[in-house]
């Protein structure tokens, strides 16, 4: 579950989920929902794989979102469905993910807000009694 919160010049995404994997999935949906108004119109005809490593959870969280943002800007893809698996590998955290979507088609996709970057300001990933909470502020 994600929600968008406000920050004077920018936007924040707050995510709550029962598991860490779901937290990362919902964050990805949240990020693309900011950028495209009709995310449900995105066809899941192409898939992309991601393999990321990190020595802490917040770094991995940032890098995951930054990779997704690059898929949008650098590869001009809109992604709408995600599977994420986070595990440990030689004392590091390892993320393996598959995302499905399609190339941006301005005829069908309503591009909304340009997210320029995933910032480190106020970034947090916390385990709570009933699951996980994470926040990120994106530069728009």
């Amino acid at each position: 579950m994600y929600e968008i919160f406000e920050h004077t010049a920018d936007l924040g995404i707050r995510v709550r989920a029962g598991s860490l994997n779901q937290l990362f999935v919902d964050a990805a949906r949240g990020l693309f929902s900011v950028m495209v108004a009709n995310l449900d119109a995105v066809r899941t005809v192409q898939h992309v794989s991601f393999n990321l490593k990190g020595d802490n959870l917040e770094g991995l969280w940032h890098d995951w979102l930054a990779e997704l943002l690059y898929a949008f800007h650098g590869r001009r893809l809109l992604l709408a469905e995600f599977q994420v698996e986070i595990g440990e590998e030689a004392e590091n955290l390892a993320l393996t993910a598959t995302a499905r979507g399609e190339p941006i088609d301005l005829g069908r996709h309503e591009i909304d807000v340009e997210v320029k970057a995933i910032t480190w300001h106020g970034l947090k990933v916390e385990q709570q009694a009933d699951g996980w909470l994470a926040e990120v502020i994106v530069d728009v």
Partner: protein, 487 residues
């Protein structure tokens, strides 16, 4: 993160200057100073921007004070409207957060010899023509493509490279900050991802608060300075606000990733990870500066190509060459940048790394870096306001050198978050409201216009008034928008 106001100390130390004392936070090396009057300071207290001014005071090698201009608002790491100068000889650092993601976001103003009166009957079709031609919107590419070698030259030479391609004149370069090219740009430090994003975006507006505006000179407040710039009441001008596009964002992002563990390596403790930094005299610092200069040069070329396309549209529309329409660049300023500059601190001339994040260089009359045409009046400073009210042309004043490392404000500054602005615009047609005020607004999305509506910004007149009274810059001309192309 909740939106709380700033509850810390703010002491008035001058008519337009407030201090955050050095003992407010552990680790502050200098005090914080915010330029504002009593009314603006109340607005400024509404969020955590003053706290960010204090955080920046922690950076190693920072000189005099961590400064903020009256258009200050809450950013990430640095506030928007922040200025920090560090001395590399004292372990001074460079921080990508002190420049921002949109490296060398900036503004340029071009004048014409057309009067609004003569153009008014055809302003609608003129705006349509501009809207059709100027590439705008999220991630949009443009008609100018730069392959590997060409892009490298563009990054090293900025607008000067465009002159070799016939897209910039000597006059354009002379009237661009730093001549449109920062030396010591190192394309080897720019990632493949950044290069790939930059290949087709030079000469495109982008989205968000970027714009191209057709404006009319509404009021002249300094006749000699206005004359030097070719500005007269009633003349039509074009203002362009854009930056380094995806290439710049990627350079900043790459740098922050590389700098993640660098502060710890050099024993630097920071209150916010977004302030990640490296000593200027370190490999990491030099690598960021080399890449940042590439992005800065790209941004100058971007605004130059946007202006060039505008000239072509005008020439076609009016059936005359742009030269005969005297569409001359008044000036181009960067407002997100870090530069090595000479400043006098505690009686000594030093080379400092001056970070301006949402702040504009404002060198006074006589400064050697001010082009000859303006040396007697001061460097032109272009201040975009909001699309309903006004924008300003100022000139740098003497007070800027001693108070703010030759710096002034950069714009109006937001008062409303984007979500609040959209809520405020519910059920309204911003384009029709603007049309009622005599402004034709062209935008691809209702939301884009809603986010950028005039009410989302401070009153730029009030902001400019402060820097004028504080002696940082002097008012020259007030410009009123008549047509807007938004990203």
């Amino acid at each position: 993160m909740s939106k709380q106001g700033y509850a810390g100390p703010l002491e008035q130390i001058g008519e337009c200057c407030w201090r955050i004392p050095k003992d407010y936070k552990i680790g502050m090396r200098v005090e914080g100073r915010i330029f504002a009057d009593e009314q603006l300071i109340e607005q400024i207290r509404h969020d955590q921007a003053p706290d960010q001014v204090a955080n920046v005071a922690v950076l190693p090698g920072i000189q005099m004070a961590s400064l903020a201009m009256p258009d200050i608002h809450w950013g990430y790491g640095f506030c928007i409207g922040g200025v920090a100068a560090t001395d590399p000889a004292e372990g001074g650092v460079v921080s990508p957060g002190g420049v921002g993601y949109d490296i060398n976001c900036g503004v340029r103003l071009m004048r014409t010899n057309l009067t609004y009166q003569e153009v008014q009957p055809r302003i609608g079709p003129l705006m349509d023509a501009l809207y059709r031609r100027i590439p705008a919107g999220v991630g949009t590419g443009g008609p100018y493509l730069f392959g590997g070698k060409e892009l490298r030259r563009l990054l090293v030479e900025g607008s000067q490279y465009l002159a070799t391609r016939g897209w910039a004149t000597a006059g354009d370069l002379d009237h661009t900050e730093a001549g449109g090219c920062l030396p010591d740009a190192e394309p080897d430090y720019v990632s493949q991802r950044a290069l790939q994003r930059g290949g087709d975006q030079c000469g495109t507006l982008g989205s968000g608060n970027h714009f191209l505006e057709v404006q009319v000179v509404d009021e002249i407040l300094d006749e000699p300075a206005a004359r030097a710039m070719g500005l007269q009441k009633g003349l039509l001008c074009v203002m362009i606000h854009s930056g380094s596009r995806g290439l710049g964002y990627q350079v900043c992002d790459d740098a922050l990733a590389k700098l993640r563990k660098v502060p710890a390596k050099y024993g630097i403790e920071l209150p916010d990870r977004q302030l990640a930094c490296a000593p200027v005299h370190s490999d990491e610092g030099q690598e960021y500066l080399g890449a940042m200069r590439c992005a800065a040069n790209y941004a100058w070329a971007n605004r130059q190509l946007l202006m060039w396309q505008t000239r072509e549209v005008f020439a076609e529309f009016f059936g005359r060459s742009w030269e005969s329409l005297q569409m001359n660049l008044v000036y181009d300023v960067a407002h997100n940048i870090a530069k090595m500059e000479q400043h006098q601190v505690e009686g000594r001339r030093r080379t400092l790394c001056v970070h301006r994040k949402g702040a504009t260089r404002a060198f006074p009359p006589g400064h050697p870096e001010v082009p000859a045409a303006y040396r007697h009046v001061g460097q032109p400073v272009i201040i975009p306001g909001d699309m309903g009210r006004a924008s300003w042309v100022l000139v740098g004043a003497e007070g800027s050198m001693e108070q703010t490392f030759g710096t002034t404000c950069h714009g109006a500054g937001r008062v409303m978050s984007r979500t609040a602005a959209i809520a405020h615009a519910k059920g309204r047609r911003i384009d029709r409201e603007l049309a009622g005020q005599g402004v034709i607004a062209k935008c691809r999305s209702w939301k884009g216009l809603a986010e950028e509506q005039p009410a989302a910004y401070k009153d730029v007149d009030a902001v400019v008034d402060i820097v004028h009274r504080a002696g940082l810059a002097r008012k020259v001309a007030r410009l009123r928008p008549v047509g807007v192309v938004k990203g």
